[in-house]
């Protein structure tokens, strides 16, 4: 048995350390360390209710809109603030721009560059993969960054700025959109569709959304003959066996995403081993048995409706600032894969039925979701009525409690708030990567990444095993959200 400490683990959002016990050429055990604590929950106590909209987005610069949406919904839920149809559409659009940008940033800048690593130099595909995907130097990043910047112009119109907009409010969006601006949004979305259909898919979005099995996906990728970056990924995934790497067999959870009067684009629920069920939101707790926080006198996990545990850096039996959220006492995985499994898309369901939740399934679900959401964004722009209101100004109550649940790019994000006398008395946040990168709980059960890393192959002499890098990055971790 030998020990490896991988850190700073980069091309994740924020700082990360992964401790590995290695035995017989594979990971025997893993501990995931979130090394940064900033204390947003303590910071918010005593502040006026609406200050949450200023502070919460600054938890995270990559999913700041998700934080704004969760905060706005939690505040709205303390009373009964109506949401006009336009407000819902505008907030969905703002949120969707961030989410698809995040999925693509992960794909192009964080995940794909690992195929350019020297460890793969002997593979017949390496030269091509390195020319296309190498960090900073590769052609793909140079194609992607201008397209990403152009996509972000939607947020200039809809949200004023990004990250950390104040446009998202409990009653909708502060930014009314004129007819001329709607035309501009439509044109920007057309440009984005072009980038996706030319560079990412080399095919129509509708054709990608219709892929329904792993066999169909492989055949589609072969037909593209390495045209399009998604087909390149599918072929590289086949060549490196990513459908056998980073496997978990856990409950998948989604809070549901992009609500509307007709119901959410992706529904709320739980999915495990082919069976969907209702999500018992009130059965969510956080355990701090292995995290640097003071444990409760009875050692019981806490509901996010209760005050959070204060930090305690001196505990030797803990190893992370990340708490361990549990659903009904069990580990749950979250993210684009979980969201699409709950939503019932046939492609991720087939991938997981065959191989389990793997590196391949997580990446495929993320890229598939880009196509699904881009098409929905076009519908939302068409549905906006520039003559109708975008926001309702009903004031918040001075006292009450509320939960704001949404889906960030990386999975389920929840904010829980208590108000008294117009001020915040408790604010608790459970972020997607808090679920995925959770440490062990009191029963000793490891979190999803810790489970996914067990059995990962380690080559002779590897200090930063490439399999471990693929697995860790397949979750698209956001460490600044994880601890906050």
């Amino acid at each position: 048995m030998s020990r490896l400490i991988v850190g700073p683990f980069n091309r994740v959002e924020g700082d990360l350390e992964v401790r590995l016990d290695i035995s017989a050429g594979a990971v025997a055990d893993a501990r995931v360390v979130s090394p940064l604590y900033r204390g947003f929950e303590a910071m918010l106590v005593g502040k006026p209710a609406l200050d949450a909209l200023v502070y919460a987005p600054r938890i995270c610069g990559i999913c700041s809109v998700s934080q704004s949406v969760a905060a706005a919904r939690a505040l709205a839920a303390t009373g009964s603030v109506p949401l006009p149809a336009n407000g819902g559409l505008a907030v969905n659009l703002i949120h969707a721009v961030e989410n698809v940008a995040d999925h693509l940033t992960h794909f192009y800048l964080f995940f794909m560059p690992d195929f350019a690593r020297a460890v793969y130099a002997g593979e017949p595909w390496h030269a091509g993969a390195a020319a296309r995907f190498a960090a900073v130097r590769g052609g793909a990043a140079q194609d992607f960054l201008p397209a990403r910047a152009e996509l972000m112009n939607l947020l200039g119109v809809l949200a004023g700025k990004w990250p950390h907009t104040l446009a998202v409010q409990p009653g909708g969006s502060t930014r009314a959109i004129s007819r001329a601006e709607l035309a501009r949004l439509g044109a920007l979305l057309a440009a984005f569709r072009r980038f996706l259909e030319r560079t990412l898919f080399a095919d129509g979005l509708e054709a990608v959304a219709a892929l329904s099995t792993r066999d169909a996906l492989l055949a589609w990728a072969e037909r593209r003959a390495m045209a399009g970056d998604f087909a390149r990924f599918v072929i590289l995934s086949q060549a490196t066996g990513l459908n056998r790497l980073g496997r978990t067999d856990l409950r998948h959870m989604s809070y549901g995403a992009y609500p509307s009067a007709e119901g959410p684009l992706f529904p709320r629920g739980v999915f495990r081993r082919g069976v969907g069920s209702v999500l018992p939101v009130d059965r969510i707790t956080e355990d701090v048995s292995h995290a640097w926080y003071r444990t409760a006198p009875d050692d019981a996990p806490r509901s996010p409706r209760d005050l959070g545990a204060p930090p305690d850096a001196a505990r030797d039996d803990a190893y992370s600032w990340c708490k361990a959220p549990r659903l009904d006492g069990e580990v749950a995985e979250v993210g684009a894969l979980s969201r699409q499994l709950v939503a019932g898309h046939p492609l991720p369901r087939d991938l997981v039925a065959r191989d389990g939740a793997t590196v391949e399934a997580r990446v495929v679900a993320r890229v598939l979701e880009v196509a699904l959401v881009a098409m929905a964004m076009e519908r939302w722009v068409r549905a906006i009525d520039p003559a109708a209101p975008f926001i309702d100004h009903t004031p918040l109550p001075t006292a009450g409690e509320g939960a704001g649940l949404t889906e960030a790019a990386r999975g389920s994000l929840g904010h829980w708030v208590d108000l008294e006398g117009g001020r915040i008395t408790n604010y608790q946040i459970i972020a997607p990567t808090t679920w995925n990168f959770s440490p062990r709980d009191a029963a000793g059960t490891p979190g999803p990444l810790e489970q996914a890393l067990r059995g990962a192959p380690v080559r002779e002499g590897e200090a930063e095993p490439v399999a471990v890098q693929h697995i860790v990055r397949s979750f698209d971790p956001c460490m600044v959200c994880t601890v906050h």
Binding site: F9, A42, G46, A135, R148, A149, K161, H164
Partner: protein
């Protein structure tokens, strides 16, 4: 500043992150006309290491940072994103740099002694920013300011080897005005 008129040696840029949200980097990725990679090439800037962009990870990244801190690897520009974290009780344990068990504050302090120019990107790195809000539980400060007071990690009298104090630029937005991607732009309170 174009590549053609510059000496052949590129300017080596090292970017570090501590008590912040990563939004300064994400804002930088939104650079337009030209895009970020073109802008870096035009300015003849080479990324020595960036937490979100570079291939090097783990021991590879530690080796770069150790060489810089020891003075073996020259660095022209140090960018810090996020505040310097001193808590709890001055120990810096609220951010131990991954893989090293050493406070990130101490890494920043050591590397700052070696950099030609130092840029505090965003209001967190300049003043402590949002991370220092509320009761400042984590004892966050900026590189050259602690809130509105001169000082911070480097001290009021600090000068980087190739720059006057003013190069410790407070809260420069990473992308130009007019671009929709901007992080926390804030002016000093005095």
């Amino acid at each position: 500043m174009t590549a053609a008129s510059e000496p052949a040696r590129p300017l080596r840029l090292l970017w570090l992150q501590s008590g912040g949200c990563g939004g300064c980097t994400l804002s930088l990725l939104g650079a337009e006309k030209p895009d970020l990679l073109t802008a870096l090439a035009a300015a003849n800037v080479e990324l020595l290491w960036h937490p979100s962009l570079s291939e090097a990870t783990g021991g590879e990244a530690r080796a770069i940072l150790e060489a810089v801190a020891a003075g073996d690897q020259p660095v022209d520009i140090l960018c810090l994103e996020g505040s310097v974290i001193n808590g709890p009780g001055g120990t810096g344990r609220f951010h131990l740099m991954a893989g090293t068990g050493k406070p990130m504050r101490d890494w920043i302090a050591a590397i700052a002694q070696r950099a030609g120019y130092i840029v505090a990107v965003g209001s967190c790195a300049a003043f402590g920013g949002v991370t220092a809000a509320g009761g400042n539980e984590v004892e966050a400060c900026g590189l050259a300011y602690d809130g509105t007071r001169a000082g911070g990690l480097l001290g009021a009298g600090f000068r980087s080897p190739r720059a006057c104090r003013s190069s410790i630029s407070p809260a420069a937005p990473s992308t130009p005005a007019g671009s929709p991607t901007r992080c926390c732009r804030s002016a000093p309170a005095r």
